[in-house]
Symmetry: C2
Subunit: 193 residues, 2 copies
Amino acid sequence: MQNILFDFISKYISLTEEEWNAIVSLDLFRSVKKGTILLKEGQKSKDSYFILKGCIRTYYLLDSEEKTTAFYTEMEALTPPCVISKTPSEYYISCVEDCILTVSNSDMEVEVNSKFPKFDIMCRILSEELLAKQRIDFDEFKTSSPEQRYLNLIQKRPDLIQRVPQHQLASYLGIKPQSLSRLRARILEKDRS
Amino acid sequence: MQNILFDFISKYISLTEEEWNAIVSLDLFRSVKKGTILLKEGQKSKDSYFILKGCIRTYYLLDSEEKTTAFYTEMEALTPPCVISKTPSEYYISCVEDCILTVSNSDMEVEVNSKFPKFDIMCRILSEELLAKQRIDFDEFKTSSPEQRYLNLIQKRPDLIQRVPQHQLASYLGIKPQSLSRLRARILEKDRS
DNA sequence: TCCTCTCGTTCACTTAAGTTAAGAAATGCA
DNA sequence: TGCATTTCTTAACTTAAGTGAACGAGAGGA
């Protein structure tokens, strides 16, 4: 399992034995059960996550309805906005499946980064990349209809459609579960003809 | 004008005289006229922008229609995704008003950052902040209706409604110009009663 | 095993956005 | 100033999403 993390980091920087040992010694790996809530609305937290196996989702509770806004799967990293802004969280994070994660808190990162400035550079590159990627996702969302978004999702993240309940996908696509159900029926109808 | 940039950088790191001189000597400041296109679809570019005065927008040309996805105003920075991915740009950047900008290219940044590692840290913090902010914007967009988005915009960026043509605001809100016009009429109607 | 709760689907109805078109208002330019 | 172009608004009609409700299938717990 560790080598997944190693491969991920290696995409950004090359690691010496010493640096890698420093990471391993932090004992970041955690196994968590499906349904576990990692972060609740109103909580303060300094934890960032990296998914080695499984799937987690972020959602807001608005009018006692869950609004899912993002899914994170294998080889993806998540630093919740509340960690950056140092304010109570506006959303929940929960495990869609049994997961193996690394959990690192920002104090640890400050310490490691001051010892190995290389990690600072990795974090910079990683956030710049994520920022650009998220910008493109946002732009695609804005410029397309729910149906196009769904078709786009089938192309880009087909696994999500299998592993995630449909009502969670719906709010991820910005619509209601009933609308997603109808939209899917509409697409099947078109395919038949 | 320079002190705007100085104040911005000072929010993230403290600058020595030498560091500040290094930045000034790069001669980054540019004046550009309203309507100027800074980046075109298909172009490769290494330029990042910081707005000292004015407003720029990013837009896609889809089915020969402009789809505006973002506006950047005073004290905001933009590194286009194509600079990060090193691929041709998918969108256009154009000036909504006469602007005063800094234009820096990524080669220069690499050079400055290697001379002053402090800048690397600033870039990391800045991208982490922007990533978190953009995540929240995206989430708000997903979880609200066009009308809520418009009301939200009035609260958060009232200046945009004054300085930007409505048909550009419309696609920024994810709808057609006619729908924005109707939606505004609907809100006025409600206010009256 | 039975019961309950969740999830997905369907339906009828409402509401709002997309579309097409026309005209008024504002803007820019000669 | 006058003309052309762009921008905004309005309207009628179409299409799709929101809403409320009902139903069946399936999962999980007692």
